[in-house]
């Protein structure tokens, strides 16, 4: 039954939930900023040292005086995520085009649910399978001392971000009006020409959003990468080399370190940088979306 009191209560409840949604990420950001700045203010490291030097040897005590260069982890994250994109994007786009343009019926009925299953698999499972199947496989095929490598990390991440990119891209392609396709076919264009010159350009911005979403997920993934990358805090020697990323170094060291120590403060700083990076990705998506909206007008 309609009742004004009830409506007000619910309106208030929904508003509260909305405000909480806004407050939480801001609160997390502030928390990370406070925790992370100890490295600079309390232990007197410089941002230049943090970003551009490579020795990460912070002391697990309250005195400090270690070295806090995170360049290896930042570069490690960039390389592994870049590699994952390089592998995942072609597959994702091909899959998206296949399930919308080439075999829409079969694609929607079977391929799409199949891809969506990927999303639900927990990252620890990906990591574990990577560790027990992919790592020995790489070791045997390429005769390596170990299969734990940048390549293994890239492949595992690629498999993980493939479904997010594919589903977003498929939605974007499906959203291109049928009339545009029909007009092109009417002019005598082949299916490839329609896909390549009409559909893909029209879907471009949304597809890019999907790619960035995938990249953001790749950047934030710790567990699965940690299990296959060999966690070596040095620049990788090629694609079969080992390295560490921002997320793996936090995951592997946080448990042993004392709260408030220089080493722990350094990890909080890395966490804050990760937060800033994900903020940056979100802004990027919004900028691209805004540009796309303008163009479509």
């Amino acid at each position: 039954m309609y009742s004004k009191g009830k409506e007000k209560t619910w309106k208030f409840f929904v508003l509260l939930c909305g405000l909480l949604m806004i407050a939480l990420p801001i609160a997390i950001g502030i928390f990370l900023a406070v925790k992370g700045n100890a490295l600079f203010y309390q232990y007197h490291h410089t941002l230049g040292e943090f970003l551009f030097t490579t020795t990460w040897k912070l002391k697990d005590d309250l005195v400090g005086g270690g070295k806090g260069g995170a360049a290896v982890f930042i570069v490690g994250s960039l390389i592994v995520c870049g590699l994952a994109l390089l592998i995942a994007v072609p597959f994702s786009l091909a899959a998206a085009i296949f399930m919308t343009e080439i075999a829409p019926k079969w694609g929607t009925k079977i391929l799409r649910p199949a891809v969506e299953i990927f999303v639900g698999i927990p990252s620890v499972v990906y990591g574990w399978i990577g560790m027990t199947v992919l790592v020995p496989f790489l070791q045997n095929v390429f005769h390596l001392k170990t299969g734990r490598s940048v390549l293994a990390g890239g492949i595992v991440l690629a498999v993980m971000i493939f479904p997010s990119i594919t589903t977003v891209a498929a939605d974007a392609i499906r959203a291109v009006p049928v009339s545009a396709r029909m007009a092109a076919y009417g002019l005598g264009a082949t299916r490839w020409q329609v896909t390549h010159q009409i559909v893909m350009p029209a879907a471009q911005t949304s597809v890019l959003t999907g790619v960035i979403l995938g990249l953001a997920r790749a950047f934030g993934e710790a567990l699965a990468v940690a299990m296959v990358i060999g966690k070596t805090p040095a620049f990788p020697k090629g694609i079969f080399g080992q390295t560490a990323t921002m997320t793996t170094v936090i995951a592997s060291r946080m448990a042993e370190l004392m709260e408030g120590s220089e080493a722990k403060a350094g990890l909080w700083t890395i966490a804050f940088i990760l937060y800033l990076i994900s903020l940056f990705f979100i802004f990027l998506i919004h900028i691209i979306a805004a540009k796309g909206a303008k163009k479509n007008k």
């Binding site: 040897k57 912070l58 002391k59 697990d60 005590d61 309250l62 560790m131 790592v135 020995p136 070791q139 001392k145 170990t146 299969g147 734990r148 940690a226 060999g230 966690k231 070596t232 805090p233 040095a234 080992q242 560490a244 995951a251 592997s252 060291r253 448990a255 042993e256 370190l257 004392m258 709260e259 408030g260 120590s261 080493a263």
Partner: protein, 306 residues
């Protein structure tokens, strides 16, 4: 429930009547809460002891968590937990005045062994000298053939900085030298075992509690221990003083331990001793040569000078 109440009452009155007379009082009537946090190397032992202690002292509620030696010391110092488990002396992690408030209970000792992947052992590396160890773990020697092994690249498989296992190994096996060079880092010893298994030419270190117990044999498949200066890493060699890579395991309390905590610690060093050995730890009372392992005699200035 009623029995518990009576027990509690008896306990309370007993405590009021004589705070000092506690000796071998009836454990079954003892009650209290004991929380232990800290060293992940000591955690399995404390947990096993807690499980058995619960049978003879059902009134004492013991919780055991890991979190690292530094965190354990900080927790006991600020009162978050009653016991701080640590691989290192409190003075190495806390301010001097904070460390002075804590009471050290050295419940056992833990040995560390150098371990290599099977291919290295099969290639002839059975023993390494201290100099060779330093050279390997600081990244100077990079091929096994330089230390009498196969022509294979050396891969270091270590624990990250802050780990008590690492600190002990650097102090007693490497003579205080800091590990350097490229190394795979592992969150815990079980993970390190896995990394050794699937990396050819790898070397690392493990606490004997991950090597000696019967339950550990499966995890040790494909991994071999290496003697240091021809002395095998065994409990006997730790006891007779020939194998020096070991450290005391500490259970710190803030001030004197309360009755329940003291009873638990006494239990570990007393009736639990046989289990201590079968879990791969060394019993403190059997140690014959402790030079350099007591807090005062530790290589001085080392922690400050780093």
């Amino acid at each position: 429930m009623k029995l518990n109440k009576i027990a509690a009452l008896t306990m309370a009155s007993a405590m009021i009547m004589s705070m000092t007379a506690f000796a071998d009082a009836d454990l079954s009537k003892l009650s209290g809460d004991v929380s232990c946090t800290g060293s992940s190397a000591l955690q399995p032992l404390v947990q096993a002891a807690a499980d058995k202690f619960a049978e003879i002292a059902p009134g004492v509620n013991i919780t055991v968590d890991a979190g690292g030696s530094g965190q354990g010391l900080q927790n006991v110092s600020d009162g978050t937990s009653t016991v701080g488990d640590s691989d290192v002396f409190a003075e190495e992690k806390l301010d001097a005045d904070k460390a002075a408030e804590l009471v050290d209970h050295q419940v056992c000792a833990i040995g560390m062994a150098v371990v290599v992947s099977q291919d290295v052992a099969d290639g002839g590396v059975k023993s390494l000298t201290t100099d060779q160890l330093v050279s390997i773990f600081t990244g100077e020697t990079t091929n096994w053939k330089d230390v009498g092994g196969p022509d294979e690249e050396i891969t270091l498989v270590l624990r990250p900085e802050g780990s008590g296992t690492r600190a002990t190994f650097e102090k007693y096996a490497l003579g205080g030298a800091e590990e350097a060079g490229e190394a795979m880092e592992n969150d815990n010893s079980a993970e390190l075992q896995k990394a050794l298994q699937d990396t050819n030419g790898s070397v690392g270190y493990l606490a004997l509690s991950y090597i000696l117990p019967d339950e550990a044999q499966e995890a040790m498949q494909g991994i071999a221990t290496v003697a240091i200066d021809d002395v095998e890493p065994t409990l006997e060699n730790i006891y007779n003083g020939t194998y020096n890579v070991w450290a005391y395991e500490h259970m710190y309390t803030k001030g004197e331990a309360d009755e329940a905590t003291q009873a638990f610690i006494d239990y570990i060093t007393g009736d639990f001793s046989d289990d201590v050995e079968s879990l791969g730890y060394a019993v403190s009372s059997k140690l014959t040569k402790t030079d350099g392992h007591t807090g005062e005699a530790a290589p001085a200035g080392e922690t400050e000078a780093q």
